[in-house]
């Protein structure tokens, strides 16, 4: 399928899917960039900022696809929407911890590792499906993103496994982080209200198939590091795919758009 051959209903579903993909990467990349200068050591600082930069690039690719579909200029889509127009999963907008990067940041590294690892596993599954998407421009973007995301997944998997099997304190913190992420990670695994149209048009695999792949993978990894699988992840605070969000998203978007809003004509 190309832009010209999309039926109106398909186009609507595709736009919804693209917002999910873009906003997921965009928000998590933003949370990652807030760690700049605060990561546990200098090598991690370099690695993490590089990953965040890649992810911003991925979000940008999706925003460009939205621009082509008539959703407006990519930069404006990223910066000038109101929170209820965002389609990211709620867990990805959550702050890194108390404080801000300028004022007494008390960020939670265990939470960051768990959230990023779980997300990277899902992102890989999602891209693996998207590279066969019926919408060719999306399939092309996915193939490109995949070559980069491969390194992200590897990075977070090392952190996850090492922290899960190091000191008692690390295991304790990681276990608490898993429980926290688990409460809302279901939001990442859903395709939202346009799910049926998205799947019918073969833009991506059925969410249940991908959900199962994710659960199987995480269950195996948890077993490998001696932890128990807590059952299907939940969606306690609502579905971000419906535009339901928390105060944390407002904080993120206002910070993100602060610079942009000062001069929308500048290229960022």
């Amino acid at each position: 399928m190309t832009q010209e051959t999309l039926k109106p209903q398909e186009k609507k579903a595709l736009i919804e899917l693209l917002y999910q993909l873009a906003d997921d990467d965009f928000l998590l990349a933003f949370r990652g960039s807030e760690w700049l200068g605060l990561a546990p050591h200098i090598e991690e600082d370099v690695a993490f900022s590089s990953i965040s930069q890649d992810m911003m690039g991925h979000a940008n690719l999706y925003y460009n696809l939205l621009e082509i579909l008539g959703e407006g200029e990519a930069d404006r889509i990223a910066h000038l929407r109101s929170p209820n127009q965002f389609r990211n999963a709620i867990i990805l907008e959550e702050v890194n911890g108390p404080g801000t990067y300028l004022k007494e940041p008390d960020y939670d590294w265990a939470f960051t590792v768990v959230r990023n690892y779980f997300y990277a596993v899902h992102k890989h599954i999602r891209l693996d499906s998207l590279r066969h998407s019926s919408y060719e421009p999306l399939a092309e973007a996915a193939r490109k993103i995949m070559t980069e995301q491969y390194y992200h997944l590897m990075h977070w998997e090392i952190w996850f496994k090492q922290l899960m099997t190091s000191t008692d304190e690390a295991t304790l913190r990681m276990t608490a982080a898993i429980q926290k992420v688990w409460k809302d990670f279901g939001g990442v695994l859903t395709l939202g209200p346009y799910y049926e149209d998205i799947v019918k048009a073969n833009f991506i695999d059925d969410e249940n198939v991908m959900k199962k792949r994710w659960n199987n993978k995480i269950e195996a990894v948890l077993k490998e590091v001696g932890a128990s699988y807590p059952g299907e992840p939940r969606m306690e605070r609502g579905n971000g795919r419906n535009g339901v969000h928390t105060e944390d998203l407002k904080q993120a978007t206002s910070t993100l758009s602060e610079v942009y809003a000062t001069n929308p004509a500048t290229g960022w």
Partner: protein, 166 residues
């Protein structure tokens, strides 16, 4: 292809050889295999370029530099640059000259015919030793990693291998 058109294309290619990667000053976009197609029609040229990394902040600079270089070619009045993802850029596209120039810059070229998931075989750009360790897969820019040579005890950078994942 008419003779005129092919000589025009040649001039454009020459100009593209002067467009450097803003992050690795000695290597041109031709060396990196970033130029996919060059299409000259009369006094206009369309160039499709394969981005190396999608989050590469240098893309805007590269686009500007291409336009500037090509529009200086005699007989060309306008150049259009388009970034495309098919075929996707892989490190196998780097030319032999490009690999040499990377080395001169202190960056080890990526392993040839790399298969994603397999270990890298990277030589130290200074002494050629293969006795190296990975310090950080993520280096100062998206496309580079930091390694350490245990033979000559020098840290060095390597181009992160990127292969098509099928």
């Amino acid at each position: 292809m008419s003779e005129l058109k092919s000589s025009m294309t040649e001039s454009v290619m020459d100009a593209l050889g002067d467009v450097k990667d803003p992050e690795i000053a000695s290597v041109s976009i031709l060396d990196l295999g970033m130029v996919h197609e060059v299409d000259v029609t009369d006094d206009k040229v369309r160039i499709s370029v394969l981005p190396t990394f999608s989050g590469c902040p240098a893309l805007h600079i590269i686009e500007r530099d291409i336009k500037k270089a090509v529009e200086n070619v005699e007989g060309i009045t306008s150049a259009e640059v388009k970034f495309v993802f098919t075929p996707s850029w892989t490190t196998d596209r780097i030319t032999p000259e490009g690999r040499e120039r990377l080395k001169e810059f202190g960056i080890s070229p990526p392993p040839a015919n790399h298969v994603m998931g397999e270990p890298w075989e990277i030589d130290c750009p200074y002494c050629g030793s293969t006795y190296v360790t990975m310090e950080n897969i993520f280096g100062p820019t998206a496309c580079r990693s930091i390694l350490y040579c245990k033979s000559c005890k020098n840290p060095f950078e390597a181009m992160k291998p990127v292969a098509d994942m099928g």
